[in-house]
Amino acid sequence: MQVAELLRFLLYPTFYAGMLRMMVPITLGAVGEIISERSGVVNIGLEGIMMLGALVSTYVGHFTGSMVLAVVSGLVVGLAAGFLHAGIAVNLAGDQIIDGVGLNLFAVGIGEVLLYLTWGSFATSPQLPPEVRVPSIHGFSPFVVLTLLVAAATWVVVEKTRWGLRLKAVGEDPVAAEAAGIDVFKVRTIATVVGSLLTASAGVFLSLDWLGAYTKNISAGRGFIALALVVFSRWNPLTALLGGLIFGFLFQLSQSIPSGVVPDQILWALPYLVTLLISAGFLAKARPPGAVGRPYKRV
């Protein structure tokens, strides 16, 4: 009886809407990273790219009043960050991980600085006007649909198209791919940029859809969860979607059970604990793309 009362929130659609909303940014980030890693390029800067995407789209939305421009500019930042990472990690064959660490630091810093310099606030931008915010359709965010589509489309592209074949070839064995006439640098650059673009769209979701403002710490670790989700999903966009839903569910669950039932710390830790256990359990045989993390160099 008490348990039923306790778990009543499971009956409300809001619970599932919340779960989907948690799913959106981490899945978008994860799918983006899957595309990138499938080509052999790790990008650890998801958190930073999300923040920059959210920041710039808010900025442009605020000053232009145009939703389209806001969304586009958020994506452009993803594009730019992708090109930066590709330039360092693909074209210059530099370390794939380090610049991501740097980007994360940079994003936190620049977000705070701009927030203050522009709006005199250390915490949050003004609320965006309704016309700039991405409208919800029947209470559902179009981003939810977008995420489902992106995950499905990515799966189709990776598994069923020539680009997917080439993408995987480059990530498995760049030397062999090159010998088969594929431009490794081009494929890796495109994959990195597209991956970064999707990650930035997660940021756009946070600012233009979910909150309607840029707030400091807006991504709150979601970029890192996305990173974990990539490994969790064994580099499969559909599994990433599933993983996003599972994580979303656990996260929503941990926040829906009211305080005073069990120590909140146990609830808060739950999504992370489960992810760790699943990773250690049945994912033990996950095999990453053959050349992931290894720069390709022509001589």
């Binding site: 915490a123 949050t124 403002a213 039932v261």
Partner: protein, 416 residues
């Protein structure tokens, strides 16, 4: 590096440069322009400074924030406001120090104290307690003040607020306003200060229950973060879905999500006004979403800081505890006066209001008028009783006691 990459990086640079350029162009004044009139001292019990007599000397004050820093929409921002007001009113010079980590506290405080330049050093937030205590012992002739805490040193003023009293008032309001007889409290991480809010709020709800026979269920949730706005929104939506129609924000930046959730919920349901309503915290947050934030539990850190500076300026500064409750104008429930004052402050900071100030006020008044006189009278009555000491609102700092209080008032899903 290929052309593509170069273009990419150029775009990044251009975006950043453009951003900074744009940011600096409007030259939004971070502090009130000299032309704007001095904001009214909002709290009713504030003693207006004797404007006519010039301060005896140029006073220098240092304000040290805690690491949450400006932008917490709580004590750090409010302390800044108080200091800015003092700056204008008394012409004092204020130096702000924003540490990056708590390891900075003691070295910085030592340096400020050691320089001998500052007449008063204010530490904002209980996290500075130990640092202030340490340095106050080393520099017994230096005046300190600390917000939300106290130390045993004679040269330190502990500026405390009776959050329980203010929370009691909004608790009463919540209990009246709720139509589904369900209210929610969204909290940050579990720290003792939040117990004050909890205890007072539960008492207030219970007061109405006893008075009217209403049976109100209270759900409370610690979210585990003070800085995740999206999380606050998510938790609040869950509460709204379960029928809670008044949500009390006690979660700093996370709590902004509470206001977001309530506003979005109403908009989705085509409502211009609540219920559901949100209750703001610390400053007056009523203006952020006019029609959706029924009131705010004001914690006037600004006044505490302002008074401390004033006392230094006029040589009345004393150490020990300065506890600000309803009586001292330290806490309270937001009214029209506060609404207007805080809108003005927001504007001066460069923040854009959601609507023209007069429209906000109109909407706010319309919202408040939705509830009968009885509600406001009860609140006023309890307020007076608290001031007179007839009513003692419970509070605690201990995890065990708050547990007992929660049980006493039957708080939580499994309770009442």
């Amino acid at each position: 590096m290929s052309k593509g990459q170069l273009i990419g990086i150029l775009v990044v640079l251009i975006v950043i440069v453009a951003g900074v350029w744009y940011a600096t162009r409007p030259k939004a004044p971070a502090t009130p322009a000299p032309t704007t009139p001095a904001p009214t001292t909002a709290a009713p019990t504030t003693t207006a400074p004797p404007q006519t007599t010039a301060p005896p000397k140029k006073v220098k004050v240092a304000v040290m924030f805690d690491i949450g820093g400006r932008g917490d929409l709580g004590f750090n921002d409010m302390a800044w406001m108080g200091a800015e007001r003092a700056k204008k009113d008394f012409g004092v010079e204020v130096t702000y120090v924003q540490p990056r980590s708590e390891a900075d506290y003691i070295p910085r405080l030592r340096e400020l104290a050691g320089s001998g330049e500052y007449d008063l050093i204010i530490g904002v937030g209980f996290l500075l307690t130990d640092a202030i205590h340490q340095v106050a012992q080393e520099y017994p002739n230096q005046y300190f003040a600390i917000v939300d805490s106290l130390t045993p040193d004679p040269n330190v003023r502990g500026i405390l607020f009776k959050e329980n009293e203010g929370s009691a008032l909004v608790g009463i309001l919540a209990a009246y306003v709720t139509e589904n007889n369900k209210v929610g409290v969204v909290l940050g991480m579990e720290i003792p200060v939040l117990y004050h809010f909890e205890a007072g709020f539960y008492w207030g709800v219970n007061y109405v229950e006893n008075k009217t026979g209403k049976d109100v269920q209270i759900i409370y949730k610690y979210t585990g973060s003070f800085i995740d706005r999206a999380l606050g929104k998510q938790v609040s939506e869950g509460m709204l879905a379960q029928g809670a129609d008044v949500l009390y924000n006690v979660a700093g930046l996370t709590g902004l999500g509470v206001l977001d959730a309530v506003h979005d919920f109403n908009v989705q349901h085509g409502k211009e006004f609540g219920p559901p309503f949100a209750i703001g915290v610390d400053s007056c947050q009523d203006w952020m979403y006019p029609g959706h934030v029924i009131a705010s539990m004001m914690k006037r850190v600004d006044n505490g800081v302002y008074y401390a500076i004033r006392d230094v300026v006029y040589g009345n500064f004393t150490g020990g505890i300065a506890a600000y409750g309803i009586k001292e104008g330290g806490v309270g429930i937001s009214g029209l006066e506060e609404l207007q004052a805080f809108m003005q402050i927001a504007q001066e900071m460069g923040t854009e209001l959601p609507d023209a100030p007069e429209n906000i006020v109109a909407k706010w008044q319309q919202m408040r008028a939705m509830y009968p006189e009885e509600v406001w009278n009860t609140i006023e009555e309890v307020k007076q009783k608290i001031i007179s000491g007839e009513i003692q609102v419970p509070t605690t700092d201990s995890p065990e006691e708050i547990q007992a209080i929660r049980q006493r008032y039957g708080v939580g899903v499994l309770g009442g």
